[in-house]
Symmetry: C2
DNA sequence: AATTTGACATACGCTCCGTATGTCATTATC
DNA sequence: GATAATGACATACGGAGCGTATGTCAAATT
């Protein structure tokens, strides 16, 4: 019978394990996910898991690497199709927030990941997202659009603000309204990066502006 | 012999459990901390733990509540002794970052806490710190120092940036240099909050300023 | 003085993880 | 082409940790 090639079978096994773990981690969380259970759901046993990933943490790393690669790809698409560098940067930040709204990303990447694997700034994958953002900021600085500031530092602060904003939004009882508030405040902060003459889009409001809700 | 009153004994037991757990959680982390071990180190057993705190998560909540109360107290001191509201706010942010540099706070409050107890923005205690910051921003807005922006949203973004900055600093190989970069970039972002006329402390080399008429 | 409450300790079972070992197919060697 | 060797898994075993159920003893209540 047409048995598939060896390498494909193995890759398929790894993919099945990662997929099963991703679902389990994303739904019940890392700590509550039983290795026996989700390997069985993939038609396998823990033997396969330990063979391919060493331990439970190794599998979490693989899952996060997969998710992170997807995130990076999505970010690149967003920033690539913007008209200006600055707009691309802003769009990328917005996309970052939107991704962080997804429960699977929140749970696996933002909560369990740091607890199990340590600080995300040390992960190779997370650094990819930061590096992408840093490069954009570097270009914006060379271009003269933003003030002289360390690109990586700014990128980390901005991503930190984005992630927290996302978690706040996702857990609020009215995500729509919260999102609007967060994005508005976010843009205000980002304008701190812009050089004075470049500031745009702020209505230059007189003394006491009261924004009326909705 | 002079036996102490009942209530004091009980409070002492609770305090011993919280202290032992705090040390264990802070050093080896929540997941690796054995209840048998650290209750024994307090001269007790898990029986006492379950009686007072329900389960391991309950004890973590108590530990975090204690740490958070300390953090809030420190923040209040910092913001109270500043000359201006804005300076108080900036100082508070800086203090926030400095506290987040402490390993115990990083591990328990910033990493394990969210993984075990869920999103920090839902904790009563964490909300206290945010609320304190929000109040300051509200006053700054009323005062006309900062632009019209939702105080809570800004507070959450700023705290998010602070926390991430802290983790980045703490895990960098050169914390001193990283800290300088982060604080500088942080101030730049914060200036986004300031209204145009109020901007201070930026050297502002006007290469090609294109000032739109106010 | 008798009873009740409550603060703990002890005992038990269960789940889960990691390792050590076994099995079978594929690949390499001759 | 038969045999040895490798590698991908499954099975078996032991240990640790958690939660609960139960026991005990002092203090508070009556």
């Amino acid at each position: 019978m047409g048995h598939k090639p060896r390498k494909e079978m193995i890759a398929e096994t790894r993919a099945k394990l990662v997929a099963a773990a991703r679902h389990a981690f994303g739904s019940v969380g890392y700590a509550e996910a039983s290795m026996d259970d989700f390997t069985a759901s993939a038609g396998l046993t823990r033997g396969a898991l330990y063979h391919h990933f060493g331990d439970k943490k190794g599998l979490l790393q693989a899952v996060i690497a997969e998710i992170d690669a997807e995130m990076l790809a999505r970010l690149k698409i967003v920033s690539a199709r913007a008209d200006t560098l600055w707009q691309g940067f802003v769009d990328e930040c917005t996309a970052y927030i939107e991704m962080a709204l997804e429960p699977e990303i929140q749970r696996i990447v933002l909560r369990d990941g740091p607890a199990v694997l340590g600080d995300p700034s040390q992960w190779p994958s997370q650094n990819e997202c930061i590096r992408s953002m840093s490069e954009n900021l570097q270009k914006l600085r060379d271009e003269g659009t933003i003030v002289a500031v360390d690109p990586e530092a700014a990128a980390r602060l901005v991503s930190g603000a984005s992630l927290h904003a996302a978690q706040w939004i996702a857990n609020s009882e009215n995500p729509e309204a919260t999102s609007k508030k967060a994005v508005k405040a976010f843009n205000v902060l980002l304008e701190g990066l812009l050089r004075q003459g470049r500031r745009i889009g702020r209505a230059q409001a007189p003394a006491e502006v009261n924004e009326s809700p909705a």
